[in-house]
Each structure stands twice: as structure tokens, then as C-alpha cells.
């Protein structure tokens, strides 16, 4: 008999709110994150895109993190731990302290050998390495410049080197662990004492969806009964270097004047995606019977997962969209449903010219004009490796509440789909789809369904 897989817990840190309740409330309210980029970044470069969706680091003292963890981890790993802590509580698990010094726990209601972790991230702890690289490279340069300035100013003058020298004089001894992408999964396996499956996947902007799909498969095949899975990203280095990488590639939103209205997926006036500082979403996935035994009503069920690859280009997508089509076929077969069953599609919806054109065309071809369509990135900006997980959470919450958040700034749609611009209307959503596409040509999709009653 097929093993059913359900979502029973959600934890979120995002540019529009932290925690499932605040995040979802702000989604439905159409709250969009946008600010001008930090002034400090302009010390290093001038940029084509003037705005971003900042992900401010949360007040870590509000969460059960030790002083050592805060020193030894990149924000992407701290985000993962915080989101998982929220998800575990949301799923109704109690936790017991296992090792006070290491700040690790056990979950008495699960068998640790039957639990796994699959996280997705586009860039892992890249920001930490940026800091270490600055220490490595700038220290000798600053010494040279200081000596030169002192010589020019005379030996009796104390010289403070002018210029944007922002770096730590200590090379961070935890750089390796802070940088490695797999730490996103490892920190969760360690935190909850899960000795089995522990995997980090990286498929750029599809990473979060790929991770959840991989965890779904591991539960469906019987390898494990429960998983912590999702995506995490942190890209706000103090120099704006990561922002510059996307800006230089001409992927980011352009804005002159009205910054609040610039991020507009599926609008004729769209001009690129809104860079986000990051975020994280961790979901608790369980085999349905496992959840039922402990009396936990799921948020939604996952019915199928599929992934394909354009095999076409490294920083873009095949405008033909044929691999998206192929992904749909597998999704429908495995979920035993038809395109007509899908009531809601949470799109990849970045706001780039080619993504939105290709995505909307293939949606119209396969699904017609009936399903509700929105783009969570119109609110959060593009959180890269976290986005697929945030959007799977949005899809699940839309099924649970039967409400769908609006697609912000969509005044003049490029195609006549059933775009949601008003969140106040209740809908009947039995089946829904979340899809993500990533640089490299990665395509991943999940079909979710209203869970069976207990």
C-alpha cells in the first residue's frame, strides 16, 4: 500500500515576517518587503538595481541558541535551526535536552533511526567565507596602506587609514564549518540527534523544493517516517558582493522612483527579480499514519514530486519550457490526478522577462485559465535556496485556510491567467501545485492536497 506523506509543522524566517502565523498573516495582507540597498554597499561599487528585500537577522536571544552556536555558525545555519525549532513545536513534538554543552535534544515521540534531514541551499555559508576572505586579503593591504599614510603624514601623526576597510582582524577559526553548504542539514541532525539520512541539496533557486521532494520520496519509499526539510539562504554580506554578482548578471529589478511598485512578477512592466537577503523555511514531513497515531492533524498532504532539467543553459531557462511540461506529466501520473484538478498554482514567478513569459505560457497551455495563480516572490523578493520551501509552506497554508495571497503590483498581466490580486475571497482548493526553477536549468514541482480527515 502507498505510504501517504503529510506536512505537520512549519517554521519560517522571511523578509515579511518570522514564524508561521506572522508570515502567513502578512502574505494574506499583501505585505511586500522592499528597501533601498545599504549605503555601505555603495562604498564598493555602483549598482544597476537600487533595491532589495532585506532579511534582517532576528534577535537571536529570543531563540534557544547557545553562545557557542552563535559564534560557530553562519546565519544560514542559525536560520535553519530557528525555523526547525518553530516547525518541531508547530508539529506538536516535545523535546528533551540531551547534552547541555552542545545544546542538543531528542524528540521522545520519534524513533531517531527513522528520522532524516534534507535541506536545500543555493550558496550555504557564502557570507561567512566573504568575511574570512576579507580578513585574509585585506589585512596585508591595510598594513601597507597604513604604513604609506603614516609616511606621507609624518611619523608623529597617528593615521587612520581612509576608505572602506571593514573586516575582522581575527581570521574566523570556524570558517570551514560556517561555509560548507551541508552544514544546513548537519546542524539539524546534530540538534535533534538523528543519525540517519542527512543531505543538503543545491539546485539554485529550486533547492528548497528539491529538498522537500527528496524528503518526501524517502518517506514514501519507507526509508524514514519523519523528516525535517526545507530551504535556507543568507546573502547579505556587508560589502554587497553577492548582490553585485546578481546585479552584474542583469537579473535584478530596475526601478526609477517608485521602489514599492518595482517588484512586479507577471506584469508587462516587470524588469527582473527583487534580490532578497535570505530566509528559511523548515517543514516537518511525516508518514500519515505516524502523524495520526499521535493525533496530529496535518496542514496538507504531499501527493507527488518530480524534477527535470532543461539541459540548455547555465544562467537562464529554455524558453521552450518542454521540461516543465515533462515535469507536469510525471507529477500528474504519480499523484493520479489531472490538470483540471489543480485549483491553485504557486508559481516560481520571479519577475524576470524570460521566466514569467515561459512560465505563464506553459501554465496556460497545460492548465488553461482556471487555476488561481500567484507569485510569493512579489512579497518576499527572491530568497533563492529558501524560496521553494517558503512557497511550499504557502501552498500548504493556502490549502488549509482556503485563502490565497495576492500577487503584488500586478496591474497589467502579460497573460490572461486567473491571477490573484485580492486575498479576501475564499476559494475551494483540494489540489495545488508549487513549482520552482533554478539556474542550471533545474525544474522541480510538488503537488499538494487537502489531507484526509482523521
Amino acid at each position: 500500500m502507498k505510504r501517504e506523506v503529510v506536512i505537520t509543522g512549519i517554521g519560517i524566517l522571511s523578509p515579511i515576517g518570522n514564524g508561521r502565523g506572522e508570515f502567513w498573516h502578512n502574505c494574506l495582507a499583501g505585505t511586500a518587503a522592499v528597501e533601498t540597498i545599504p549605503e555601505q554597499w555603495r562604498d564598493y561599487n555602483s549598482y544597476s538595481s537600487p533595491i532589495w528585500a532585506p532579511m534582517h537577522e532576528p534577535d537571536y536571544t529570543q531563540y534557544p541558541l547557545s553562545r557557542a552556536e552563535k559564534m560557530q555558525m553562519d546565519p544560514v545555519q542559525l536560520f535553519t535551526l530557528i525555523s526547525a525549532d518553530m516547525a518541531v513545536a508547530d508539529a506538536g513534538f516535545t523535546k528533551e535536552l540531551r547534552d547541555e554543552k552542545k545544546n542538543t535534544y531528542i524528540l521522545p515521540e520519534v524513533h531517531p533511526d527513522r528520522c532524516g534531514v534534507v535541506m536545500g541551499t543555493g550558496n550555504g555559508g557564502l557570507v561567512s567565507y566573504t568575511g574570512s576572505a576579507a580578513t585574509h586579503i585585506v589585512t596585508p593591504i591595510k598594513k601597507t596602506v597604513d604604513a604609506y599614510c603614516k609616511k606621507m603624514a609624518g611619523s608623529d601623526s597617528s593615521s587612520d587609514t581612509p576608505g572602506p576597510f571593514r573586516f575582522s582582524s581575527r581570521f574566523n577559526p570556524f570558517s570551514v564549518a560556517m561555509t560548507m553548504p551541508n552544514a544546513c542539514s548537519a546542524v539539524l541532525s546534530i540538534k535533534y540527534s538523528f543519525p540517519g539520512l542527512s543531505m543538503t541539496v543545491s539546485s539554485a533557486c529550486a533547492s528548497g523544493t528539491t529538498a522537500i521532494g527528496t524528503a518526501f520520496r524517502a518517506i514514501r519509499t519507507g526509508d524514514i517516517d519523519m523528516a525535517l526539510t526545507g530551504g535556507a539562504e543568507y546573502l547579505a554580506d556587508p560589502y554587497g558582493g553577492i548582490f553585485r554578482a546578481f546585479d552584474t548578471a542583469k537579473t535584478l529589478v530596475q526601478a526609477d522612483g517608485n521602489f514599492d511598485r518595482a517588484n512586479r512578477p507577471f506584469d508587462k512592466k516587470r524588469s527582473g527579480f527583487l534580490f532578497s537577503g535570505g530566509g528559511a523555511a523548515v517543514l516537518v514531513l511525516e508518514e500519515a499514519e505516524h502523524a495520526r497515531r499521535r493525533g496530529k492533524q496535518p496542514v496538507a498532504a504531499i501527493e507527488s514530486y518530480s524534477e527535470t532539467c532543461d539541459a540548455f543553459t547555465i544562467m537562464g531557462m529554455d524558453p521552450d519550457g518542454r521540461q516543465i511540461d515533462k515535469m507536469y506529466s510525471t507529477l500528474f501520473t504519480n499523484a493520479a490526478c489531472e490538470p483540471e484538478d489543480i485549483a491553485y498554482i504557486n508559481t516560481h514567478g520571479t519577475g524576470t522577462i524570460i521566466n514569467d513569459e515561459t512560465e505563464s505560457r506553459i501554465i496556460e497551455k497545460v492548465f488553461g485559465k482556471k487555476p488561481l495563480v500567484n507569485a510569493t516572490k512579489s512579497l518576499t523578493g527572491h530568497t533563492i535556496g529558501a524560496s521553494g520551501a517558503l512557497e511550499t509552506a504557502v501552498t500548504a497554508l493556502s490549502i488549509q485556510d482556503q485563502f490565497v495571497h495576492p500577487c503584488a503590483n500586478l496591474d497589467d498581466p502579460i497573460r490572461e491567467l486567473n491571477f490573484v490580486t485580492d486575498a479576501r475571497q475564499e476559494h475551494e482548493i483540494e489540489w495545488a501545485l508549487n513549482q520552482s526553477f533554478g539556474f542550471g536549468g533545474h525544474i522541480a514541482g510538488l503537488i499538494l492536497k487537502k489531507p484526509a480527515l482523521p
Binding site: S66, R67, A68, M71, K101, R170, P173
Partner: protein, 87 residues
């Protein structure tokens, strides 16, 4: 700014040690050796060093750190740094 007393410096050092090694105040004395008495492993010693850096806002070099075996050593070292105006 007033020069902190020995007791004030010691309290700050002890708080760092308690946080990183999860020890109780009664476990700590000036003679406590980080590795032998307080059970610090190599990861802990690096964490202690970084936390002391942050606590007193000054870098402790690896060479200087080698001389810091006990809480008392650390107190003397930090006192010297403060006296030298380095902290």
C-alpha cells in the same frame, strides 16, 4: 572610563566560561584549568578564545592564548591588557 576592578574582570571571564563550557559558578576557581579541570576540548578552547575576544573587544593572538591555561592566567592577562590601554 573607570578602570574595572579585578573582581569585575573575573566576573566577565567567568560568565564567558560558564556560557561556553556550561559550568556552574561553583565549578570555577582561579586555579581551574580549562582542559584538565573544566573538560574543554579543542573546539571549546577556540570558542573560549573568540568569546573572550568579543567580551573584551580585543584580539588575543594564538601565541598569547598558549599561555592561558587557567582562569587565573586569563585574569592576569586581561588585567595587563587593560593596564596597557589595549582594552
Amino acid at each position: 572610563m573607570a578602570v574595572p576592578t579585578d573582581q569585575e574582570i573575573l566576573n566577565r571571564i567567568n560568565t564567558v566560561v560558564e556560557d561556553i563550557l556550561k559550568k556552574k559558578p561553583e565549578d570555577l576557581s582561579l586555579d581551574s584549568k580549562f582542559i584538565e579541570d573544566l573538560g574543554a576540548d579543542s573546539l571549546d578552547t577556540v570558542s573560549l578564545l573568540m568569546a573572550l575576544d568579543q567580551e573584551f573587544d580585543e584580539e588575543i593572538s594564538d601565541k598569547e592564548a598558549k599561555g592561558l591555561t587557567t582562569i587565573g592566567d586569563t585574569l592576569s592577562f586581561i588585567k595587563q591588557k587593560i593596564a596597557a590601554g589595549a582594552v
